[in-house]
Amino acid sequence: MKLDYEELGLKVGLEIHVQLDTRHKLFCNCPTTLVKEDEEDVFIRELRPARSELGEVDPAAILEWRKRKKYEYYAPRSASCLVEADEEPPHELNREALTIALAIAKALNMDIVEEIHVMRKIVIDGSNTTGFQRTAIIALNGYLTVGGKRIGIQTLCLEEDAARKLGEDRDKIKYRLDRLGIPLVEIATAPDIHTPEEAGKVAFRIGQLVRLTGRAKRGLGTIRQDLNVSIRGGAKTEIKGVQHLYLIPLVVEYEVMRQKKLLEIRDELLRRGLKPEDVSGEIYDVSEVFKGTKSKIIRRALSRRDHGVYAIVLKGFKGILGVEVQPGRRFGSELADYARVWGGVGGLFHTDELPGYGISGEEVGKLYEYLGADPGRDAIVLVADHRDKAYEALKAVIGRVREAFKGVPEETRASQIDGTTRYMRPRPGSARMYPETDIPPVEVTGELLREAEKYVPEPPDVLMNRFIEEYGLSRSLAEAVLNDIRVDLFERLVETYRGRVQPSIIASTITNTLKMIRGEGAPIENIRDEHIEETIKLLAEGLIAKEAIPEILKYLAENPDSGAREAAEKLGLTTISLEELDRIIEEVIRENMDAIKRKPNKAFKIVMGRVMGKVRGRIDGRTVAERVKDKINNLLKT
């Protein structure tokens, strides 16, 4: 489907979260590292939403509380303390993190807040042991120029990262506390973005700018993107947790598609003369219809106590639930999300997809008859589960169906790996922020601002000049590096290995080599910055030849847990000594003596080719050529 985004009035705002690489966490003295294995303390907690004076409670908070889940926390001793366990008040705001955030604010041309106040933002899905995220606004009203266009930056916040979710079972969610408290900057743009591609570019630019401070964390999960997307007539939808930059344009496109389809559904409902009041709130027990069913899901439900099959009738909705709103997702999938989130059920069936899933046509017929519904006009939604859960689920479905008459409901949605999204929770209300009184406000002094100077990243044009003039990169290579998220890695490696590895080799490793091996099918998303760094280090130490780089990176992409040295050894790509090279050359000459004698003019070509076949990637080609030439000249002289 080709979409005209201007016509649709697409507006996108981004919220980019980047972890900062500080010595310790935002409010305590724990290191900012994730642990693999460690001694851990485990404890179980509950959270309960505080009431506001007006009796209002955040709708998102109530949703979590209604699930009555408990939270099980794993507290690794090397990367969490009483502060993460919510057993000790937070310490003062980490000055190092604040300084970095101020530097980013400067680079984004923002107004810096004169006295910073840390707030508590209520989040009770258990990802914060406190039940709130500590967050502070550092700067306001900036901008960034991308492709000649000014994109407004509304706010820059410094906040603590949440705990890592490990898994979930029926009554509890498990989290590890190592990530909790790692400083994050959250940069929110104005809704100035009007195409999916532009969203990708802006996200990339912001991520790169933060990395250029030299103090951003790297690797999977260190940058997370949230999107706010709306089209004319639609609604602002918040999409959480887009993990990969390359997914952003796709996620935006799919969201536009979804909102457009929901508006079309609304129009269709109006065309059919239906009204929200026509959606009955009645829930029926239809277990009887499914006695002796072949559907495994329903059979299992019916065999358990207080379980059954429950149904609602949507008069006049025939065909609506089958409308595809995103690739592979129908309007029925949207309803199923609500049933899962609010009722905790596994899913639902609807008549636009039946017969199917073991439910026979005969059963569907009986169902319509049992409920007095019209098979030609009406749709029926079924949930097979515990009675209470099924009721909650179907109530949520009814609520969502009524929203369909308005078009697009305001929602927080979760990003999925294929670019589609699913309903997560209602958009949080305004009743969720109050001051963190345990932390004193911070005056932004001139001294603090001067300290921040050292992290302010250089603008792209300055970098470009330096890459060409100082590092001797060609214009096109300099451009390629500048357009790569790893531009900061390039700078760092050049600084570290200057004089030992040419900047152009580092540049092309980061850009061309990775692209090339992806073309050969290597899963390069597994490549971490450390992989590249280790590889360049091997080169600097003369342990590999530059020709070995692609093979090593390819191996690391497939075996991300091993190191570059291990890869080089496994692949037999470690350099050979000059003595060994000489021995190989002499051997090749000996074996090919006849040919050499026959065609002395071609001697170099013959020997070089065979030697390279044995040592490619293990020693610099030029060295090989020199030695081969020497040996042959000597031989021919005698």
Binding site: E46, A50, E53, L82, E87, H117, I137, P441
Partner: protein
């Protein structure tokens, strides 16, 4: 002048504008515009020249006040109508009264101003913790409102009178909400002040304030109400978290309990004794794990003896201890001294003359140990024997805090006769002395 917590020029300007918390301001300086709702200033920072406003996105920021700012009042705070929740209670459940001494068991947040206000009405309590309505028929009121650290022996007289009244009214249990800092002192005091208790007295508090979703207040309160309603014992206990997680609570005998951590939920520990019971509020289960001293019985007539002498002091021994501290207390007319001695119960030999003088002037001197764990023994070393000879009363395994409360109670309610004081101090009245300390009663690191 001070205005909404602001001081100096900021306070003057704001008061001249006549703005209140929650009013909407626009602050303009050199073309920069900040608009938001005025917040109060925390007094500690009131001298710094910033105006705190809440932006529309919910964040607070401080805007520097230089005097050059143009400040426009854009809007006034609207009237709020607070509707009290309606809740039905089951009168067939055990009747429990919750007496509050200050602090916040339930808080309500005003998200507009950031203010956290206590709420103590029964409907508000049940609205927040609906489970309560399945455990007890609740009555609640505030009897005093003081910070835990400001509690005095005079307050114990008032608290015990209120509890006594509830007992006479025939409640099934009393819960006292109390700040945690001095809670163990108060729980010990009530143990002595009311004897022949018909029902339990349960002290409860929280280490994480109730405005946070992670507060321990709700869990502790559920456990405390359950204990008050159903426990088979009738003693003055502290019910708080038993571990860092929200799994079980422990009932510590007030006279044996001590706050052993500044901030953890499970800060309270029983010393030289086991907790009295383990409580699982979710399963509505109380497992008694220690010997009950006073059993619950509706037939018992409580006895109120609640005078406390507030001229008692605790003095800690340390290297270089100055004996004149004791002289000073005696000269100032103190009525009793509890020493927190070293080891088995020692203070420097240099202080023995001062102690002897105190006793001679009718001031009882009780010896406890700053080791906390274990019992004093003044026969083992010569210093101890000299202290005994000087008239020091050995405190056995009593906590210094409990010895302090007990001495204050004896002097206030019983006698000032030294011989009688010594006899009562060394008699176990409500479980404050454990005659048998087993090997298990000492915390060890897991290996």
């Amino acid at each position: 002048m001070e205005y909404l917590g602001y001081r100096g020029l900021v306070a003057e300007r704001l008061s001249r504008l006549g703005v209140g918390v929650g009013d909407r301001l626009r602050i303009i300086r050199d073309g920069r515009v900040f608009e938001g709702v005025l917040m109060p200033r925390e007094a500690l920072y009131g001298d710094k020249p910033y105006i705190v406003i809440k932006l529309d996105n919910g964040y607070n920021i401080g805007v520097r006040y230089t005097g050059r700012e143009e400040i426009v009042v854009v809007g006034r705070r609207g009237e709020k109508r607070v509707k009290p929740p309606e809740i039905a209670q089951n009168p067939k459940l055990p009747h429990v009264t919750l007496l509050s001494t200050g602090g916040t068991i339930v808080s309500k947040i005003d998200y507009e101003t950031g203010a956290v206000k206590p709420a103590l009405s029964v409907p508000e309590l049940i609205e927040w913790i609906p489970e309560i309505a399945d455990i007890v028929y609740l009555d609640a009121r505030e009897i005093i409102s003081v910070f835990s650290e400001d509690i005095t022996p005079k307050h114990w007289e008032l608290i015990s009178r209120e509890i006594y009244r509830e007992m006479k009214n025939g409640v099934n249990g009393v819960v006292v909400a109390h700040g945690t800092d001095m809670m163990a002192y108060s729980a010990a005091a009530i143990a002595f002040a009311i004897r022949n208790k018909p029902v339990p007295i349960v002290f409860v508090g929280s280490q994480r304030s109730s405005d946070r979703p992670s507060t321990d207040s709700a869990f502790n309160l559920k456990a405390a109400l359950l204990t008050a309603a159903q426990a088979p014992f009738a003693e003055s206990v502290i019910v708080m978290h038993g571990e860092t997680g929200d799994t079980y609570a422990l009932a510590h005998r007030g006279v044996k309990a001590r706050k052993m951590h500044t901030s953890r939920r499970d800060a309270f520990q029983s010393i030289n004794d086991k907790p009295l019971a383990i409580i699982y509020p979710d399963r509505r289960e109380i497992n008694v794990i220690n010997k009950i001293i006073e059993h619950r019985s509706k037939d018992k007539e409580p006895i109120l003896e609640n005078r406390f002498d507030d001229r008692v002091a605790i003095v800690k021994a340390y290297p270089g201890f100055q004996p004149e501290i004791i002289d000073l207390l005696v000269d100032k007319g103190f009525h009793g001294i509890v020493l927190e001695g070293s080891g088995l119960g020692h203070v420097t030999n240099r202080a023995i003359d001062s102690i002897k003088r105190a006793v001679e002037e009718g001031v009882p001197v009780v010896m406890t140990s700053q080791c906390l764990f274990g019992r004093t023994d003044l026969y083992v070393y010569s210093t101890g024997r000299r202290l005994l000879a000087a008239g020091v009363i050995p405190g056995s395994d009593m906590l210094p805090e409990t010895a302090y409360v007990k001495l204050s109670w004896i002097l206030g309610s019983k006698t000032r006769d030294l011989r009688e004081v010594a006899k009562l101090m060394t008699t176990n009245i409500v479980g404050e002395i454990n005659p048998r300390i087993t090997v298990s009663l000492y915390p060890r690191w897991p290996l």
